[in-house]
Structure formats: C-alpha cells, structure tokens
C-alpha cells in the first residue's frame, strides 16, 4: 500500500501534472514545491518519452524540451530523492511502458519505493497487459494506476475491481490537451466505478478552467490537470513557478 490515499483526505484532490526536466530539473523542483505550497494534493511527475502516443501537442512539446535538455530516468530518480527532503505530499510517475521496461521493471520499482514514489501511471499498459509490471509493483508497494476511458463501457467494472491507489478517469476521447467542453457522461462512469470499488477516482484530460474543475469535482474525488499547466511552463520557462503556483491555488480553491 502506498501513501496515495492521504491525497484524498483534504477535500477534493487537486492533481497537477508536469514533465520532469521541462525546461530543466531545477525549475521542475521549484514548480513542485510551489504547487505543494499552493494546495496540490498529489503530483504526477512525467518521465519524458520520445514518442508519447497518448499526448497532445502541448505535452509532446514538453517531452521534447525535457529530452533535449538531457534529462534521463536516472537523473529523475536523483531529483526525486532530493525533492523528498522537504516535499511530503504523495507523488506518482506518469510515463510509458518502454521507459519502465527498458530500465528493468524491478530496478525501476525498487527505486520508486526507495524515493517515495507512490504509484505509476502508464497510458500504454491496459488491463490485459498489466501483469507485465503488476507483480513487481505490488512487491515494492508501488500502485499501478488504472485508467478508465469514455469507451470502456463493459470493461469499467472489471478494471475498477482490481484497481489500486486511485482510478484515472479519462474524461474525453483522444489525447491529452485543453478542451472547451467535456461531453462524456463522466457521472455514469463514476457511478459504475463506485459500485465496484472504494478506491478514489480522479478525472483528467481536457480540464483547464476553475469552472470545469468545479463541475468535474462534483462527480469524483479529484481533478487532474496537465496540459493547462505544461502550457504555462512552455510559455514562461524558468519564470513559470510563480505563475503555476497561482493557477494551482485558484484551481484548488474552485474544487474545495
């Protein structure tokens, strides 16, 4: 069992995503601390991947910026170790299956355990393939986070019943990115999830405004925001921590 549950004990959880090393790890550290101070309950740290097939243009660009800056999985583990001296809120990694597989899953999860990473989100590892890493995740107490999509339909119950940590409810079809409107019937999806598990649900994909966050938080236990934050980092670079902090405060306030 990880420490993820504690993220859902402070009202509705606000869960920001950022890509590690965008524009550099020093700035990532400042952003993480700023977000934690301004009310983030759990932070998703992206380990960049060269070909992020589930991401829209904004996060794709962040992955490229980070990789061209020379960030690697090893440097990110060192970075998290340093972060853990003062950052106490739950942290999870979001990356792609090949990053974990190539590092050696056992070595990867052991280092997650050692640096206090509570979970791993892998958008290209569906229910059918989770045995690739699940036994190792359980061995090291790292939650393998399950995703449920607008198209999951008859699969929702099956996925929910075996979920650990929290469930990532994908609010929209397509890839990550800001959307003006979310049309998926998230309420019905969450209802089926609730019938099958007590693991908390957080909704992500497409959310950017306090109004959207407030609306989505009525249905679930938390709200995930990625592209809207990454876009600010792309725009302000090293000066982004203050901007992102202010945004996080506003979003957390909207869902309280």
């Amino acid at each position: 069992m990880s420490n993820i549950a504690s993220a859902f004990k402070n009202g509705k959880a606000f869960i920001p995503f950022i890509t590690c090393g965008d524009p550099d790890l020093e700035t990532t550290g400042k952003i993480v601390r700023e977000m934690a101070a301004k009310g983030a309950d759990l932070i998703e740290l992206g380990i960049p991947f060269s070909d992020p097939t589930a991401e829209g243009p904004v996060i794709q660009a962040a992955n490229i910026r980070a990789l061209s800056g020379g960030v690697t999985t090893d440097k990110i583990f060192e970075f998290v170790k340093e972060l853990r001296r003062d950052v106490k809120i739950p942290l999870v990694f979001m990356t792609y299956a090949n990053v974990v597989f190539s590092y050696d899953a056992e070595r990867f999860m052991a280092r997650c355990c050692e640096t206090g990473i509570g979970g791993v989100i892998l958008p290209d590892l569906p229910f059918e393939e989770k045995d690739e890493f699940l036994p190792i995740c359980r061995q090291y107490g790292v939650d393998l986070i399950s995703l449920i999509a607008p198209t999951s339909a008859d699969r929702i119950a099956m996925i929910a019943r075996e979920a650990d940590g929290f469930i990532y409810v994908v609010s929209s079809l397509g890839v990550t990115g800001v959307r003006s409107e979310i049309t998926t019937d998230v309420e019905s999806i969450v209802r089926v999830i609730r019938e099958n598990t007590s693991v908390p649900c957080a909704i992500g994909f497409g959310i950017s405004t306090p109004e959207q966050a407030a609306k989505m938080s009525q249905y679930a236990d938390g709200v995930i925001v990625g592209s809207a934050i990454v876009r600010q980092i792309g725009e302000y670079g090293k000066d982004s921590p203050a901007h992102v902090g202010e945004y996080v405060a506003q979003m957390k306030n909207a869902i309280k």
Binding site: S50, T53, T72, S102, P123, L125, P126, S152, G174
Partner: protein, 396 residues
C-alpha cells in the same frame, strides 16, 4: 501462430491506451467471424483477382541468374499489382472488413506512400472517407505519392512531430484513432501494432507465399532453397515467408535497411541493432537508447525507415527460423540500378534491399538451387530520389 493474447513467443500483445481497447476487441471478434464467412471470402477473392490483378507473376529472371552465375532466381512480382505494390493485398482485406463492420472512414499511416496510395484507392473504390498521415520528411521524399493520394480523394496530413517520418505517422494515426473510433477504422499497413493487427495483416499478405509456393511447384516441381524479402515493419516479408515456415529446407531471409551501415547511428536495421522493448502497441525489437527512448532511424528508403519490426519476425528471429540481414543504402541503390538494366524491371528502393542480398547470395549457391525474391513494389516513385543520390537533379 499467435496465441490468444496475440503473442508470438514473448512478442506482440496489446500495449495501447484503454480508449482503444474495445475497438481492438471488436476488430478481433469481427475478423474472426468474417475470415470464415464464405461471402466475405468470395468478395475479397473477387477484388484481388478482378481489381488488384492477382495472382501476381512468379517470373524466372534468367538474365539476372546468368549474370550472377549461381542459383536460379525467381521474382515474385508484387510490383505488378494495382497501385504498384503488395500493400493492396492487405488494404482490400481491411477495407472490406471495415465496411462490413459499418465503418465509413479509413485512416492510415504511410512511409513511402505505397500503403497510403493503396488505402486511398480502396477508400475510393468502396466509397469511404480516407485520411492518411505521412511524415513531413516523407511527403518531400515521395511527393508523387502525395499527389496520387489527393487525386484519389484522400486527405494527406503531413506529420511534423518527432523525426517527421514513418514512426511519427504511426503515432499520429494512433492518436487520431483514439479521438474518433465510432465511424473510423485504422487501416494499419504492416504486421505491427497491437493484436490483432499483426495477425490480420499477415493473413491478408500470406497470399504472396500461397501463390509463390504453388507457382514454384508448378515450374520447378520442388520448393525453393531460399525466400528473400525486405523488412521494415515486415508485411511483404511475412507474406512471402508464411506458407514456407513449415518447410524447413527453405531458408527465409529478411533484408533490413542498414542505411549508412549498422555500425553507424544512421541505420534502421532493427533486428541487427535494436533490443527488446514496448512501443506502438507491441512488444518486439526496437532501435532505442539505454533509457528506452526510441532512436531516430535512417534509411534512403522511406518505407523501411522504421525503428521497430513486427512481432512475428522478432519471434522467427528468436527461434532461428528466419535470418535478418542488413543492406546499406549503397547496396540497395546498386541493386535498384542493376535490376533495371539486367531485367528491365525497376524495383521500389525497398524491394531493392532484397535484390541486393540475392546478388550476394546467388553466386555462392549451385546452379541447381532456387531463390525466390519478392519485388514488393515498383520503383517509379523512387526515381527522383535515386537520381539525387547519384548527384543528378531531375524535375518530377
């Protein structure tokens, strides 16, 4: 050969976003039904014969054989198919299947443009909408094919992300599919991606070796000693190998694009230089760095310029049933010119990789031995690029 979860040994699988899972499950179910449906089989057979021009010729290249002075060389002429390559075999099957499934729109990735042209062709014929994703770099290398696709009524989307080549076109087509599934079928062009694609594409391409096996038995009264085909993702190669896999005396040889050489970074020879990984929906061999970042690959051939290989090839390599050899740009270009001059057949630069290996292998074999080389496509599309390679600028 694939088991229930679409595995070929450790390779294959379904490493895709949850959003696509019900789509591939439905595709598998429908395919399992239609592949045994007499009406579907008859319709596809009819299209292959009356529209695509099958069976393709198995041609005895006598002059090539005599010039090289070794084994007898037969060419399986997939270049003579309608649209100019083997891609049409798979596309007609998938488009017909998609239509039966009630889909009205086809999306596809393309490298050299041959699969894009074939998809646009099938979409035109069957009255479906078509969108083709193509790396921006490739739209420049293969401008003629871009025009052909547009002429056929397709929309061509140049992909600028990553290296702007085939792998990025696949990523973009996958992204598009996650955003629009209801009316859209992703007509994947090679034996790659998540299950059931590697199996479906292989089954539709297996017609190559089904015919070749019958033809060689008719002409020579015996099986060949070697079958040679080029491998990018590996669809014409698996199609050429499939019906010979059980015949242990037949060597199966896949020719990978070595680009400027397998000891350089400018290569796309996945089996020779890559290692096991998970990407584009499958576990297989990929060119990647120590942290699993997919490597930017290079080949003169846009169709072989891909950092992975289909899972069934990875498996055939693991069990030693097939061999995978690297062929450089230089060797391929020489073979492109050599076949043109000796036989009056201009092969696609992709297929020229297979010809290049036959040129090495044939002279080492006795004259009573037989080699079948698959000419996967015609080379008209490559003439401008090869001219540039030789320092001559021509206007298309």
């Amino acid at each position: 050969m694939a088991d229930k979860k679409g595995r070929f040994g450790v390779h294959g699988g379904q490493y895709i976003p949850e959003t696509l899972m019900n789509a591939v499950i439905e595709l598998e179910k429908e395919y399992e039904y239609y592949k045994n449906d007499p009406e579907f089989i008859r319709e596809l057979d009819d299209l292959l014969k009356k529209y695509a021009g099958r069976p393709s010729l198995l041609y005895y290249a006598e002059k090539l054989t005599n010039t090289l002075g070794g084994a007898k060389i037969y060419l399986k002429r997939e270049d003579l198919n309608h649209t100019g390559s083997h891609k049409i075999n798979n596309v007609l099957g998938q488009a017909l299947l998609a239509k039966k499934m009630g889909k009205t729109r086809l999306i596809a990735e393309t490298g050299a443009g041959q699969h894009g042209v074939a998809t646009a062709t099938a979409a035109a014929l069957l009255g479906m909408e078509c969108v083709v994703f193509m790396g921006e770099e490739d739209t420049k290398r293969q401008a003629l094919n871009v025009y052909r696709m547009r002429l056929l009524g397709a929309t061509v989307v140049p992909v600028t992300s990553g290296t702007a080549t085939l792998k990025d076109a696949v990523s973009e087509a996958m992204r598009e599919w996650t955003s629009r599934i209801d009316d859209t079928h992703y007509c994947l062009g090679s034996v790659m991606g998540p299950h059931p694609f590697p199996t479906i594409v292989r089954d539709f391409q297996a017609v190559i070796s089904k015919e070749a096996r019958e033809q060689i038995l008719e002409y020579e009264g015996r099986l060949p000693d070697a079958v040679i085909a080029c491998v990018g993702g590996g669809s014409n190669a698996i199609g050429s190998f499939y019906n010979f896999i059980g015949d242990e005396s037949v060597r199966l040889i896949g020719c990978e694009a070595a680009g400027r050489g397998i000891d350089t970074f400018e290569t796309a020879a996945t089996v020779n230089t890559g290692r096991l990984g998970i990407f584009h929906g499958m576990k297989s061999y990929f060119c990647q760095d120590e942290y699993g970042q997919i490597a930017p690959v290079y080949s003169i051939s846009a169709g072989l310029d891909y950092p992975g290989v289909g899972p069934e090839h990875a498996y055939l390599h693991d069990i030693g049933r097939a061999e995978y050899v690297p062929i450089t740009d230089d060797e391929a270009v020489n073979a492109f010119e050599f076949l043109s001059r000796t036989e009056g057949i201009i092969p696609a630069i992709e297929s020229a990789h297979a010809i290049a290996y036959a040129m090495k292998l044939a002279p080492t074999m006795d004259k009573d031995k037989i080699i079948i080389v698959t000419v996967s496509g015609r080379g008209d599309k490559d003439c401008a690029a090869i001219a540039r390679y030789r320092g001559e600028d021509i206007y298309e």
